[in-house]
Symmetry: none
Subunit: 199 residues, 4 copies
């Protein structure tokens, strides 16, 4: 790996990451083989190793790519000056939209990251924790302004939002006909109002 800096190199590496994302998402890390990845980007199997030191490194890069900018989004949302409900909508929108755009990479992050070597996994974990903590912060803010019920456990709430988004994310990835905005709207409605009739 010499031409690490070249324009073409950087570009091809991106292609490789996306190809890996697709294949890992479909077959899982262990079920996928490097040949599939290489073929998907139009090179031969061995050539993949010009871009990744190992299959594992490819997984790492895919995971990183998957969450990176969705974690960044969250920072923007959390720091913005909006009422609670707007922030919640923004969060769900960002999260689910990510699934449409970086669909596979995000799915891979969720399902396969645990096959990463410890060192790499904990670096990613930090990013994930940041995300959850900021979301918790949004709920706490909501409690202070009175938008959120006092009885709500903010830690639980953040986890639940993430869990639900990921569950729907899976469905979104699998079924490309799903109307993204409908899902977003219904999710936020559930999170805000629950299913039962308001008295």
């Amino acid at each position: 790996m010499t031409g690490t800096g070249t324009f073409k190199y950087v570009q091809q590496r991106q292609t490789a990451i996306r190809a890996a994302a697709t294949v890992f998402a479909e077959k899982g890390f262990h079920g996928a083989c490097t040949k599939d990845i290489a073929e998907r980007m139009g090179i031969k199997q061995g050539s993949l190793y010009y871009y990744f030191k190992s299959k594992e490194e490819a997984l790492g890069e895919v995971c990183l790519y998957g969450i990176q900018n969705y974690v960044e989004h969250m920072a923007t949302i959390a720091d913005s000056e909006q009422p609670f409900e707007a922030k919640l909508v923004a969060t769900v929108t960002s999260h689910l939209s990510s699934y449409r755009e970086r669909n596979e990479a995000l799915k891979v992050y969720n399902d396969e990251r645990l096959y990463l070597p410890k060192a790499r996994r904990s670096r990613l974990k930090k990013l994930g924790s940041d995300y959850r903590q900021r979301l918790e912060g949004i709920f706490e803010e909501g409690k202070e302004t009175g938008a959120v019920r006092r009885s709500v456990d903010c830690h639980f709430a953040a986890q639940a939002v993430i869990g639900m988004c990921n569950a729907w994310g899976d469905l979104i990835v699998r079924d490309s006909e799903l109307d993204l905005f409908e899902v977003i709207q219904k999710c936020t409605d559930l999170l805000i109002n629950g299913f039962t009739k308001q008295s």
Copy 2:
């Protein structure tokens, strides 16, 4: 294969299924190897094939074991004579409790079933659909009795409940210290009331 029906045979097969569940849950179907499964139940690799025709069959059995009685529960719940909210609580309770008892098998069903050959997968799918449809039914009933808001999309609602339960199920499997009943209570609270202040 002589004593296929023997008591001991049946019992050992159950042991095998549970061993497979554990191993598949931890390493995924492709990441796991038959040797691991065999060792976990104290027999040698080759002997596994006395109980399963193939690794794939083992996966099938695990998945079936994973959802079987939780689907049956649902039938009971749906057919019972209770108000909407009670049925919802019962559903969440049943679903999450399953994760504590058959934890791994259920996780395997969720994460690995797609590696099953088509025929087998669609048989399981039917069970899954049954489950979702009955849950949808509960929501529709709720609407009729006025317990559920008219604006709620029952299909979406059922999916959302399942998604959230699975997301928490994952956490439950991973972290055995989580208080199951607390989770159940908070989930139902969210589903019923949402997070925002009731007016």
Copy 3:
């Protein structure tokens, strides 16, 4: 690797070690391939791994096999009650005979042991040092009894004997027509008398 204790297992493993010795001796560790080893013993490549965890382990076993009983011989010789010259003859005989019997394994020990992982290498090194030290001891004894000139450096002498035996060992392995006893006799003659005319 289960049947570690079986008779057949132990026997086949020995066969494997000898096959590996032959192949490593001929092509060197890195130049050899596991397929060659397997074929030489009449099994398929993959089956080799029933007997060795890795190619490297095979190398380790070959090296051990190569020096083991020749180190043991040396202990017997050193502890025996013979005059210096008899011990020297015995040493050269034992060393060179080993090359005829375990020819390849010994060659492999000499040429390839440095490709072993550190841990294993140092365990072998200890055996080698033992050998040299005992040989040194023989020379020191020789000095005391007056058989060896006072000016001789015993450390150097031991090293030289070993070096010469290995050099001839190589030739012996390569050329199976060489008369072993002639070589032994000439070597000891050189070591005892040198090449020049006695005054």
Copy 4:
């Protein structure tokens, strides 16, 4: 390939040969890789092929470089007008000094030459035989002048000298603290007088 004759080209090729020598000496021919060689001389892997047609050719050049001038030395020594013992000292000195200067190349010649294609190997072999024959000649001369015992087998003697020098050469390469002249002196002492007390 335009500037094949250029001064810079010739010089770089020498650098390449020496780099190859070092790497082959350390890892063996098959254990070494062209990337290592390239890196050691500060160029990229592919660029090596500007200087060598193949890895094998590199090995050939290294071997040649290794023995060339030490064979030439021998011619000078053999043709000189000196008594036997002086010639023997000169031979040992030349041989062992070579190890200090061209250490790796000579080691490579000894250990790896057999991986050369036949044609090239036999060309080198001729050089080696020349060397041995001239050395044999020295011993025969010695016999005629009465310096060497009549009972000595000249062919064996030459072989033994070479063998011992190579064995010590190995140690010299490995341990750079060894006092070269001490080794030379002790070797010649052994070859001339043997280890036992002169009567």
